[in-house]
């Protein structure tokens, strides 16, 4: 029951983000620009992406666990919208092992963290930067790293939005995995902001059996 409530919470959080003027109205403005500059294919493509993202967030599937592959697909949809908005300022790199790809993860786990890394990281870098997502399985645990460049002298760990996002993620992992789940934040490597998530590996087949 408790994990269901936190799943609902995560869904609300994702929805709240997507309906924020920062994301929604700027995305609609980008679409409007594509229309007035006579680029209908790009406009309809972006409308479809936005619709897919909102549809996924608004849907109420039975399972609050999905495969990492599915969770990543939605995040990629979101990232491709942001890439149209930011242009060459936003670089994305993904590296996911096949094993990690099939791992079960809480729905909406990835999105809020990636959204934060863009909103508080890349969006504040005049020359842009990279968001990288890596996932692998190490010693029976799934490990997901989300790293992003950040503007000189600007650390976003103190930001309200980011703090709240991570607090929700932490609570959720704790309810699902107890002490086996963890979220850590660091800025060590190459002055990049890094969020690392770890929890025990489960797959769809292991849950059924």
């Amino acid at each position: 029951m408790a994990s269901e409530a936190t799943a609902r919470e995560a869904q609300l959080q994702a929805l709240r983000y997507q309906l924020q003027p920062h994301f929604l109205f700027n995305t609609l403005n980008a679409i409007s620009s594509l229309v007035v500059s006579k680029q209908p294919e790009r406009a309809t493509e972006m409308i479809a992406k936005l619709a897919a993202l909102l549809r996924n967030t608004l849907s109420f599937p039975e399972a609050h666990l999905v495969t990492f592959r599915e969770e990543l697909a939605v995040t990629e949809e979101y990232l491709s919208i942001e890439q149209v908005r930011f242009g060459p300022r936003l670089a994305v790199s993904l590296s996911v092992s096949p094993e990690a790809s099939e791992a079960q993860v809480p729905r909406f786990l990835l999105q809020p963290i990636v959204e934060n890394s863009i909103r508080h990281g890349i969006a504040r870098c005049p020359n842009g930067g990279e968001v990288s997502i890596t996932a692998s399985v190490i010693e029976g645990k799934l490990r997901i790293d989300i790293a992003n460049d950040h503007a000189e002298g600007l650390m976003h760990s103190g930001d309200e939005g980011n703090g709240l996002g991570l607090a929700n993620t932490r609570t959720r992992l704790e309810k699902l995995y107890g002490e086996q789940g963890s979220v850590t934040v660091s800025t060590a490597q190459n002055n990049r902001f890094l969020v690392s998530i770890q929890f025990p590996l489960t797959t769809a087949s292991s849950i059924v059996s």
């Binding site: 003027p21 920062h22 929604l24 109205f25 700027n26 609609l28 403005n29 980008a30 679409i31 409007s32 620009s33 594509l34 007035v36 500059s37 149209v84 908005r85 930011f86 242009g87 300022r89 969006a123 504040r124 870098c125 005049p126 503007a151």
Partner: protein, 254 residues
């Protein structure tokens, strides 16, 4: 007359939206595009735009900060672009011309362009007037003793002249002076003190820090408390004489 436009937004497509819409207006000439506030700060003095479209939320210095630090003459016509309604008050405080919400509404955009045209036409008229006024004032104002003969004044968009002999009294209004002529007031852009230096001292007399009167138009002077006095003009207007200037007045009237 072309209007020089600068577009400042960190999102490339947001700039495309503005420049594409502007291309429908033949008088709108895009002279530059910037993706950050820093870039715009360097560009503005180079291209001297008449009209600037600027995003509020940008990395580094925001659109609002940029405007706060620009000299007023470089930022007369500013239109803010933003997805957020809550910046409207700040935009108002930096005297923005307009505030467009994203996504841009075409009708609203057209109204904004109309507003910018009107505003810039007024600026130009004002600048032309200043130039013309300067010429007239220079060519005509003084006789060979350096004394003003007549004032060029503006009534709406027309120039007229006020003969010095018709002026009843002159009121100091900071950088301006008000010429009171038969019940009308004309503003001239000159502080009272520098104006006084160019008036015939036999014809005009200072009676107060902010008042000069035409000697011929004085009807009477009555003493009042504190060694001040009250002066009445021919038309019945009463003015205060401060004691600082009392002796000079007495001298003239002797």
């Amino acid at each position: 007359m072309n209007i020089r436009v600068l577009v400042v937004d960190d999102e490339p497509l947001a700039r495309v939206g503005i420049t594409t819409r502007l291309s429908a207006y033949s008088d709108m000439l895009v002279v530059g595009e910037c993706s950050t506030g820093e870039e715009a700060r360097a560009k503005i003095p180079q291209v001297s735009p008449d009209l600037i479209f600027v995003d509020v939320e940008m990395p580094g210095i925001s659109g609002l900060d940029l405007l706060r630090e620009l000299p007023r003459e470089q930022a007369r016509c500013i239109v803010f672009l933003t997805a957020h309604e809550e910046y409207a008050v700040d935009a108002f405080n930096v005297e923005a011309l307009d505030y467009l919400l994203k996504p841009i509404d075409d009708e609203r955009f057209a109204a904004c362009i109309e507003r910018a045209r009107r505003m810039l036409a007024l600026h130009r008229q004002e600048a032309n007037f200043e130039r013309l006024y300067g010429l007239l004032a220079f060519a005509d104002k003084e006789d060979n003793r350096g004394v003003i003969k007549r004032f060029p004044v503006r009534r709406g968009n027309e120039f007229t002249f006020v003969q010095v002999g018709d002026v009843d009294w002159i009121e100091g209004l900071g950088d301006y002076a008000g010429l009171h002529v038969g019940g009308r007031t004309h503003l001239v852009r000159e502080p009272l003190t520098s104006l006084e230096a160019r008036l015939d001292p036999a014809q005009f007399v200072r009676i107060h820090r902010s008042t000069i009167v035409q000697v011929e138009h004085i009807a009477r002077i009555d003493p009042s408390a504190n060694r001040d006095a009250v002066l009445t003009l021919r038309d019945g207007k009463t003015l205060r004489v401060s004691r600082t200037y009392r002796s000079r007045l007495d001298e003239l009237l002797r």
